[in-house]
Symmetry: C2
Subunit: 637 residues, 2 copies
């Protein structure tokens, strides 16, 4: 029998130092909470078990949002990237997306070092076996060594370690990611506490030895010359020259690759029933892609370096749990990889998930008070999704410990808001990944304006310093006054202007035109505009200019989006009391009634987003709320 | 059922990329063998699960020997140390010992990178479950994914992962070092093949957060200003300035610490019977030290940094498997650690060992042909011991694959020779560690002359390049000609000489004196000598001067040691045939007979070193050999 003993008392305890746990712990600690992080292996803090990269569509925006709230992911990748690229630069600002290749080890080491140096934070290796719950309230955790740690709030961010099982072909064994110790006991404890767990799976491709790749048969993908950063605090002078960045390389699968896969489908755990967990629709294995898109003659593969000090390369796009020998054969059919030595086989991993309909929008569980969950544990997939939830869970756990109210982001405020609302409202039947298509206000939730949207909130919460906040206000002011100025200057017809517009195939000006209106023309940018009007009093930095351009050019669309937000806001204001008994409301359809009873939406707006709840049901609900009848429908608790 | 499939064919396969496996694989590959390394986790290549340091008495000399043979450990630590210190500088050259603190992660990453870039070497993640053995000959290995790899020779260097179990107080679970996957199956296969396995244990201390240490209550131990290197190839210009090195800090346990341990001995797995494995006598746990040296009022502890990019500190001297809470209490009694946050608890680990009497001096097993074992697997403890065996096993496996004969180092040639001879001759009942006291020719096996002893051999084997060998020969020649010159120059009495010797309390010269003889005076060093005789034609580098000094000053002792070596050599030349049936020799005592039957020494000298074999037995054996009778005692096989 292990003896139980009392460890220290904390304000907040975070279980797991992955991408969610790191953000949660740093946020809680920086808000002034004595915070303990317990994690299975300190050498895997903020470890990337899959792709060595951060960002991309929607995900990159989340990183910027985390940064604007005072989180760490943006700063951390800015210190450890080996390549930076803005995707979709030819398209509008709503779909531009920043993506970086990370030095995988440096990313981990940097995050761990930051946590080690955070005054209120204690980082400790340990496996949490169970929670201490009294009268439905979480009071702390018990580790495998018998230590009991107490806290005012607990965040679980256990990732894929929760009863993890690795699968490669016919082989299956208990393991966390990358052959680490799994967490075998916590899941069972959650089940005992009444949680509904689901079983998901994800996968990773093989890694190959870069000294055996023939790069000449692939296309080079170098980094960007023009500086970009994830953190709003990073400076252009620190941006790496292209020559100091590492390239990725593009290649493709082909019919031979596909044939090998098809010939071995009877040994693919995805299809033989070995894998019970549900896999990610938007990040499928190659065998999945071959089966689902049977007539696609080839699939893109990106060869990505795992770091500066290693020859390991990640074969992005080739995630697989086929038997090892089949993986080898597949690799050797690919252009550039004919002689590639596989260093690690790809594998799938199955793990437990807390079905997220059991969560409030603060990420506190409805089942156990003062218990929060974040990241892969909540059914998402991806480092950025994890970090976005992590900071929110950390903030809310920290505020709970400080006796403060909840902090929730709305769907129009952040991708983080979209994601959490999706999770707690709709739940998810497969690993949830952020996509731009999930957001109804994409034009508002841009990568470029995350600071505009969230710095103020970060400051209020106490995660953005006064100094940074002052800089932000100055930037905001500079943007506003420049836009104001452009709306009050007229460009008069002149030879120079005529030549310019005609060169772009446009007709000469008849009358004068407001500078802001002129800037809206597709071929006019701020720099061009400055040829025809006086420069501002102070030279503006590139970030200010970027906002002036975007806010001017897209003013019409932005206004429209904001109007629709207003409409939603009114629905959001219609609160539904917590213990509403939907059985007592006449006229609601059975499916809607069941879903409402399960999810217990907090607002009418949230109710509209539940699948199976129809406009007719909403109308009835709305009436009940307006007439104040609903308050009387509270169940006796 | 996992399907078995044929992977590639290799010349040499190495199981495990720890300190032994890395050297074995690099040696075999560099000798021209197509070499495969299979290891459980590529992120743990040359991983240091215990102290972040390399070297020290005897161990440091092994590193220099590995380097002189063309191995990697010396170069690797020279690229990744954070502190370098020569120990015992006040004492004679036989006990001086170089010791470095390593950046633990950098050490691993550098070694992995070197292996990745080695043309003949394939590094692959995988767990070996069994060997392919046909008619007593090892033909290859089978991994957990069902892959069969074939080779002409196989080296097992499985370290503490072999059926590893971690123990912390009342907690015990299957694990390799540092919460990695253990190797559960290979041990059972070895038992089936007829190997006799033993169960050993080792332990590691807790790690603490350096930001919570009060260094002012400890004594600083800075690095050396004077340059030192492990590799004979490293240049002084690359030596780190003291300001760029990290310090260690010295503190002590005290009576309060000891009381806490004594009060909790009933919970110490070392004493409650939980730990079955035999622990290391020379690297004991703190609870062991408290019990065995009950009246020592305090024990030294060194606080050592784990790297440049981490705040984790290693508490050297406090190895323990006490319950976690007891560890915490212990730490807080120690000066400087009163408020230290423990980041990882110490733990003990139990693992399987191949009893080394089953090995030949080449490290090939007697049980299975073409199978070699090295490192912790053979019952040793320590990175350097592992590396020393690793390179020898790699060389011998490589030579077997190339059809060449065995390569063995004698006890007078290297600490490596002492260690392997001890292991295969005496076996070991506890984790074996190299100590200077194990060597009978300590004055010959110095840290400074490892290149003189072994470079030639390294070159013959093919691991030392012609270029490096030429440099070595030039150095050797410079030493010889300077010693020659000093033996042929006379210092005549003069005012300067008289003043010098009198200043050191000596009497003025009466007659002239040979320079070499003068140099033997304790207060004379080479630099002082140069005041009285002309400088050599070419200025000599410091390594040459060092050898000239040592070889001159200790000439008498060295000659004596060499004479005794000659005597042993004659015994070594008396070979004992392999299948000798000792039961057929009259007059040998029963214990000696049993031991001889078990170990089957290859030479008379080896027989003398077997404990329980007495001079009388040796005399009888010697007569049998001299009379040629022994050859007739071969058992029919
Ligand atoms: C093989 C693999 C492939 C993947 N492929 C993809 C992909 O293709 N695309 C994609 O977007 N995402 C992928 N992911 C997911 C991505 O890694 C995760 O989404 C991300 O790491 C989640 O972060 P997290 O913080 O939620 O969990 P993790 O990063 O897994 O961190 C969880 C942490 O909690 C610790 N922990 C768990 N249980 C306990 C306990 N009981 N006590 C103490 N500590 C505990 C763990 O040790 C770990 O440090 C993959 C993951 C794996 C393992
Ligand atoms: C907790 C701990 C404390 C220690 N304390 C001390 C100490 O105080 N003093 C001291 O001198 N030494 C100590 N050591 C020992 C030191 O770490 C080892 O002596 C040294 O690492 C041995 O090197 P090796 O190459 O033999 O084994 P390792 O470094 O353990 O390497 C073995 C490698 O083999 C791999 N492997 C094992 N089985 C398989 C398989 N079936 N298939 C594929 N790969 C396999 C492993 O994954 C690992 O990479 C300690 C070790 C541990 C774990």
């Amino acid at each position: 029998m292990k003896q139980k003993y009392r460890g220290h008392d904390y304000d907040v305890i975070v279980v797991g130092a992955g991408h969610a746990g790191s953000e949660a712990a740093l946020a809680a600690a920086r808000m002034g909470n004595k915070t303990l992080v317990l994690t299975i292996n300190l050498d895997m803090v903020a470890f990337m078990p899959c792709n060595p990269s951060v960002g991309g569509p929607a995900k990159g925006t989340v990183v910027r949002e985390v940064d604007a709230l005072g989180g760490e992911m943006g700063r951390n990748i800015d210190k450890t990237y080996v390549q930076m690229r803005m995707l979709n630069t030819g398209k509008g600002p709503a779909v531009q997306a920043l993506r970086a290749q990370a030095d995988k080890h440096a990313y981990h080491a940097e995050m761990k070092h930051t946590m080690e140096n955070e005054p209120n934070l204690t980082l400790r290796q340990g496996i949490v076996d169970s929670l201490i719950v009294e009268d439905g309230v979480c009071k702390g955790v018990v580790t495998n060594t018998g230590a009991k740690y107490y806290a005012k709030a607990v965040v679980i961010a256990a990732g894929t370690a929760a009863r993890g099982k690795i699968i490669i072909g016919e082989l299956m064994y208990a393991s966390g990611p990358n052959n680490s110790q799994p967490a075998e006991k916590l899941s069972g404890n959650l089940e005992e506490l009444g949680f509904d767990l689901e079983r998901f799976k994800t996968g990773t491709p093989p890694r190959v030895d870069g000294t055996t790749i023939d790069y000449s048969k692939t296309e080079e993908q170098p980094g960007d010359q023009k500086p970009h950063h994830f953190s709003f605090e990073s400076a252009d002078k620190d941006y790496l020259a292209v020559k100091d960045q590492l390239s990725c390389w593009l290649t493709y699968t082909n019919e031979t690759t596909h044939k090998i896969i098809r010939d071995n489908l009877d040994r693919a755990p995805m299809f033989t029933g070995v894998i019970e967990g549900v896999g990610p629709r938007y990040c499928p294995s190659i065998e999945d892609k071959i089966v689902r898109f049977a007539d696609k003659p080839r699939h893109q593969l990106f060869l990505e370096p795992e770091g500066r000090k290693t020859e390991e390369w990640y074969v992005d796009g080739l995630s697989t749990s086929m038997p090892e020998e089949v993986q080898q054969k597949m690799l050797h059919t690919i252009s550039g990889l004919e002689n590639a030595e596989m260093m690690r086989p790809g594998y799938a991993i199955e793990y437990d998930v807390v079905a997220p309909y059991q969560l409030k929008p603060t990420l506190e569980t409805k089942v156990v008070k003062n218990l929060f969950t974040a990241g892969q544990t909540n059914g998402t997939s991806g480092y950025e999704e994890a970090a976005g939830q992590g900071i929110m869970a950390g903030i809310n756990a920290g505020r709970r410990a400080l006796g403060k109210g909840p902090f929730v982001l709305k769907r129009n405020e952040a991708y983080i808001g979209v994601m959490i609302d999706d999770l707690v409202t709709k739940g998810t039947k497969e690993p949830y990944r952020l996509l731009t298509s999930r957001a109804e206000y994409r034009l508002l939730l841009r990568t470029d304006n995350a600071d505009m949207r969230l710095t103020e909130k970060g400051h209020e919460i106490g995660l953005i310093s006064d100094d940074r906040y002052a800089k932000f206000l100055a930037k905001k002011k500079a943007i506003e006054s420049e836009i104001d100025r452009l709306n009050n200057i007229r460009i008069k017809p002149s030879k120079a202007v005529d030549e310019f517009v005609e060169a772009h195939g446009d007709k000469p000006l008849k009358d004068g035109v407001i500078a802001a209106v002129f800037l809206r023309r597709p071929y006019v940018d701020y720099q061009a505009l400055m040829q025809f009007i006086p420069a501002p009093d102070q030279p503006l930095d590139r970030h200010v200019i970027e906002q002036v351009e975007i806010q001017t050019k897209y003013a019409g669309y932005i206004a429209k989006a904001e109007a629709s937000v207003e409409k939603m806001k009114r629905m959001e204001e219609k609160k539904i009391p917590n213990q509403t008994d939907y059985d007592a409301i006449d006229g609601i359809a059975t499916e809607a009634r069941q879903k409402l009873q399960k999810i217990h939406p907090e607002t009418l707006a949230q109710a509209t987003r539940i699948s199976g709840v129809n406009p007719a049901d909403i109308a009835i609900l709305s009436v009940y709320i307006q007439q104040g009848k609903i308050a009387k429908l509270k169940k006796s608790v």
